[in-house]
Amino acid sequence: MTADRQQFPASMRFFHWLMAAMVLAMLGIGVAMVASLADYHRLVSIHRPLGILILIFVVIRSVNRLFSTLPPFPATMSSQERLVAHASEILLYTLLFVQPLVGWGMLSAARYPIVLCGSLHLFPILPHSVMLYAALRKAHTVLAYLLFFAFIAHFGAVLFHTLIVRDRLLSRMVPWRTRAN
């Protein structure tokens, strides 16, 4: 039991690493596609269904998070640090939910077909309005930058704890099972 208590539950670790890979790929595809003539279409065709997949996963993940028992913070973290860690977790979950929704919304407002796979496509969630599209398109870029900086801050903080403070913070989230120390 103690071994489990030191780590996030297996389901949470699974979603964490799966979504980390998806979101990083998504951010990379996003910056590359808006700057590319030759690869634009190929990248957009991945970007749209992958975004919807992230939306589905973040909903499942949030529900899973609600019903999971979390390991305690390492003793090395001050109460302010814990507050920041908690706030950044809420920020990341919120961004992962809002960003694909804004993407879906902006395509709806522009009346682009939102093709998932083959002839399977999503219904529009907003009325046809190019003004609305323009605003959401800007928001999509701003949120993408915010998501990228939130990822860098999260990544940097984990590296700091693991390499400098050396409080085994990362072992709580590694995909494999660790033994309690």
Partner: protein, 355 residues
């Protein structure tokens, strides 16, 4: 086991390097390290430099009118493509006639490039969009050539005319350009929009129910009889005389075109929009396009549609033509820029399109 001061510094530096690498990788993907490469934003900047920014209008094909109608498929296309649009039956169509160029108030001219954008709404919710022009081939076969020509043909600020040296340099570097112009000039221009043929420009692929993929090019051929451009010249005083003739014509009777696909043979190039396929290729009539109502940009849904040529239903796929992805990217960039702008009145006003 506390870290010594120097090893802490070393590790901090290591963290810094790792983060810089991640940020650098994203900057690389976003093209920050190759500023001279042609990108969608720079392409649209080129149109804006050539024509100025006209609030709310397309950056190219700015002057236009919206039309509506339907496509009656005769079922002949199902042999080549499983697209629902080719099964026998009728689907609604929204379209837009336009002139090439970014000036929404340009005076109509018979030799200006005419455009026809179409959106077919399929019964299963899919869409097929195509943006066609009245040239049988495209004068450029790469996005770079199109852009270079756009830059070379910009008027010199002193002479107000394109620099002949720049154009000569462009032509010298692009033998396909003159060959395409020869083909274009061998096709006489019709008197108006209503008796123009429009060509899909790029090759695409039709995919049938078995998954067999066939290279095709499509065009719409007018039922309205061909008439050459009037020899008496253009009427004075009416800047919109070609659009006005289209409005009068569509009010008289619905306008019709046959949707014809040319079926490519193995070896026919699908990646070069500047050449024609050899004579004698099989042509299949897929059905009749009827356009029976016309609206100004102010009321037409066509104004707010991006006629992105890669909005395709299952059964129609892109070819390897590099222009296709570039068109999709540049249209999207133009659409995004104009979407948020105030919509200025169009040259063809709502009162002009009434009966």
């Amino acid at each position: 086991m506390r870290l010594t001061g120097s090893s802490t510094l070393l590790r901090l530096a290591g963290i810094g390097v790792v983060i810089l690498c991640v940020v650098g990788a994203f900057l690389y993907l976003g093209g920050w390290f190759s500023p001279h490469e042609l990108r969608p934003a720079r392409f649209v900047d080129g149109f804006e430099q050539a024509n100025g920014i006209h609030s709310g209008f397309r950056r190219n094909h700015a002057k236009g009118v919206g039309v509506r109608g339907f496509f009656d498929s005769n079922g002949q296309g199902t042999r080549l493509s499983k697209a629902v649009v080719f099964r026998s039956g009728r689907v609604p169509v929204i379209g837009r006639f336009s002139f090439g160029g970014g000036d929404p108030n340009v005076t109509d001219a018979p030799d200006a490039v005419r455009g026809l954008g179409l959106q077919f709404s399929l019964p299963d919710g899919e869409e097929w969009r195509t943006a066609m022009i009245n040239l049988p081939v495209f004068p450029f076969n790469t996005p770079q050539a199109f852009y270079d020509n756009l830059v070379a043909s910009q008027p010199d600020p002193n002479t107000h005319k394109p620099d002949p040296q720049k154009m000569a340099a462009f032509v010298a570097g692009h033998p396909e350009f003159l060959q395409a112009i020869k083909i274009i000039q061998s096709h006489p221009v019709s008197s108006g929009f209503d008796n123009s043929a429009f060509y899909g420009l790029n090759a695409f692929r039709f995919v049938d129910a078995e998954g067999t993929s066939t290279p095709v090019r499509w065009m719409v051929v007018p039922v309205q009889p061909f008439a050459p451009v009037s020899a008496s010249g253009t009427p004075l005083g009416d800047k919109n005389y070609l659009f006005d003739a289209l409005i009068a014509s569509i009010h008289q009777h619905p306008l019709q075109w046959h949707l014809i696909v040319t079926v490519g043979q193995p070896g026919d190039r699908t990646d070069d929009a500047s050449i024609m396929w050899p004579d004698g290729r099989e042509q299949v009539d897929l059905g009749t396009l009827t356009l029976d109502s016309i609206e100004s940009e102010e009321t037409s849904p066509a104004r707010d549609i991006n006629f992105d040529p890669l909005v395709l239903p299952v059964g129609i796929a892109p070819s390897d033509d590099p222009l296709l992805s570039a068109r999709s990217a540049v249209y999207s960039q133009s659409f995004t820029r104009r979407a948020g702008e105030k919509k200025e009145p169009s040259a063809i006003a709502p009162s002009d399109v009434r009966k």
